[in-house]
Amino acid sequence: MDELIDLLTTFPPEWQFSLGNAVDEVIKTFSRNHRDVLSGIRSFIVGGIGGIQKVLLWIPWWILIVLIVALGWRATKKWYKGLLYGLMMFFVASSGLWTHMIETLSIVIASVILSIAIGFPLGIMLAINTKVERMIRPILDLMQTMPAFVYLVPAVILFSTGKTPALIATTIYAIVPMIRLTSHGISHVDKEVIEAAKAFGATTLQSLIKVQIPQALPTIMTGANQTIMMAMSMVVTCALIGANGLGMEILLATNRTEMGKALLPGIAIVFVAIILDRLTQAAAKKKEEHI
């Protein structure tokens, strides 16, 4: 009797199988067989991020702050907001987190560049080709619902630890809104406007470049803004796989249960995120007013 109840209430162990091991095996084999390619990619990415970082560090801190004040002023049209953003940056610098912030920023910038470079053309393809759309959309759903941590493991297996897997994982996580909103923007351009382009004899490319992309630009910019914000949040998580920067500071402080030391980089991340968001959002809005 008891045995029967057992059988009905628990999933039979002999029916269970371990897909996880198989996946591990596939990725490991892949990594072993393509070591040269992977290390090529790795050194390219490390070089790229290193370059961005060098440029950012080369700019004197005060110039960067003045630049933020000016951009903030122009974007929001309110001088006190620009000043506020400048103060936020000053706070980060005075907390001794300047270099860490630059490290974080350079990964974010690199991953945003990558996301836009891949996501923008892919989004356009999605919008104009229903076959591609049907293939890609479920993958996008998967990428968006999968917990972000899951990307960390294969990235580490393929590229070991450090900035490279951080960039890959961040990009996979952050590229989705770029693709989605580009596609959405392009396919929701006023039907008559597209018809007008066609009726006057525009080629598909002419219609795309002269009409659809400019008309969709506000939506595309919103996509870029969301991509930046998601990259910012993911890059912090990437401290877990050895990406230096603000996230790493928090991770270290948390491990040592040093509340104050964890709080400061936390605030710094919030500040950087606010500034990035406001500046890019203002740019998107400006485009929208134009349209």
């Binding site: 006023d190 406007v193 007008a196 382009a197 006057f200 525009a202 002269k210 009409v211 134009h290």
Partner: protein
């Protein structure tokens, strides 16, 4: 006017759906489109439509929403591909054009004006108007010059560098028209261009379109759901219902001889005084006399017919004036009708005048209105009673 036909459409049909062959068989058996939709899920936008458009005319296609008129106009430049049937412009069969030829065809032969304008809001007025020439690869200075000229023509001079969002509806459609004109195509497709505008602006735009048309002599295919607009603008009007054309005719003939009750009802929705002309409704002159004729004879004939007014003409039937029975009575001592006897200067109209114009004359005149031909000869008369029975 030469009657050169430049657009032909023959048996054009457009079906939307999967089971098109099945639907076609049903339609050929005469099944109506609602039943076809139920049985096969195929929407019949157009079925067996044929018409021809002459060079230099405004050809109006009128119908309620869902009658297929927008689909039809889009078949002309292949924004929609007809399911079957043929369309020609000049000697080119539009349906046979390949992708590249179609592009050239659209660039050089037909331009289009849209109901909700279809303007590109990221461009200025000038850049919008120059669009057609831009995709054709015309040099920048040349196309901007042409665009400026057309902007002036539609009365938007000075607005060249404004963003589209700053314009009113009427101004936006002027930009739409300028853009179509700048492409310098002979044929203009206009898909309900004035439907989105408020009535006063619409009337202005109609007037202006006629003015532009008088100057440029384009061939216009014009879609509308407003009978007044159709009759005002159209040299020929085709009326559509459920994807078919049920009558094509000149406004005058259509108003006078509607093909069926549907057309009749449609026409009744229009203001008939804008359509019917004096020539169509006038009656033969009830009583007239020639100058120099006997007063007594005219007096007698008027007494017999019990009318108190007569037109007086010269021997060539040209109108000289009008006389009342009272005046004849006063001058009964004279022998013949002379100019002194005539006591009325009758109001005059021409056969092609619309009733709308005659309406006002009827109100201000107590006597019949004389309808004169070009030579000043009297061809008929027009009274309040005639006017009322015509409307």
């Amino acid at each position: 006017m030469d009657r050169e036909i430049i657009i032909w459409a023959e048996h054009v049909s457009k079906l939307f759906g999967e089971r098109i062959d099945e639907a076609k068989t049903l339609l050929e058996q005469g099944v109506d489109k609602q039943t076809v939709k139920q049985k096969t899920c195929v929407t019949t936008a157009l079925w067996d439509v044929s018409f021809e458009v002459q060079r230099g005319e405004i050809f109006v296609i009128i119908g309620l929403s869902g009658s297929g008129k927008s689909t039809l106009i889009r078949c002309l430049n292949r924004l929609h591909d007809p399911t079957s049937g043929k369309i020609w412009l000049y000697d080119q069969e539009v349906g046979k054009l390949r992708k590249k030829e179609l592009r050239t065809f659209r660039r050089n032969n037909m331009s289009m004006v849209f109901q909700s304008f279809g303007l590109m809001s990221h461009r200025t007025v000038l850049e919008n108007v120059a669009f057609g020439l831009e995709v054709r690869g015309v040099r920048k200075e040349v196309r901007l010059d042409k665009a400026r000229e057309m902007i002036g023509l539609v009365g938007l001079g000075g607005c060249e560098n404004q963003p589209i969002s700053s314009l009113s509806g009427g101004m936006k459609q002027r930009v739409g028209i300028a853009r179509a004109l700048a492409a310098e195509t002979e044929v203009l497709l206009m898909d309900e261009p004035f439907s989105a505008l408020d009535p006063l602006v619409r009337a202005d735009m109609q007037k202006e379109l006629l003015e532009i048309q008088r100057r440029l002599k384009k061939t216009v295919v014009f879609i509308t759901h407003d009978m007044n607009e159709a009759f005002l603008l159209g040299d020929h009007v085709a009326i559509m219902r459920d994807g078919r054309i049920i009558q094509t005719d000149t406004p005058e003939n259509m108003a006078a001889n509607p093909a069926d009750n549907y057309v009749k009802n449609f026409i009744n929705s229009a203001d008939r005084t804008r359509v019917l002309t004096a020539g169509q409704v006038m009656k033969p002159v009830a009583c007239s006399s020639v100058i120099g004729d006997s007063i007594a004879r005219l007096y007698q004939s008027m007494e017999e017919k019990d009318i108190d007014f007569a037109f007086v003409t010269d021997p060539e039937n040209k109108l000289v004036g009008g006389v009342t029975i009272k005046s004849l009575h006063r001058n009964r001592n004279m022998d013949t009708i002379s100019r002194e006897v005539l006591d009325i200067v009758p109001a005059v109209a021409h056969p092609e005048d619309h009733l709308r114009k005659l309406q006002e004359m009827c109100v201000s005149s107590d006597y019949p209105i004389a309808v004169l031909d070009v030579g000043g000869r009297i061809v008929g008369e027009f009274t309040r009673t005639i006017l009322i029975s015509a409307i």
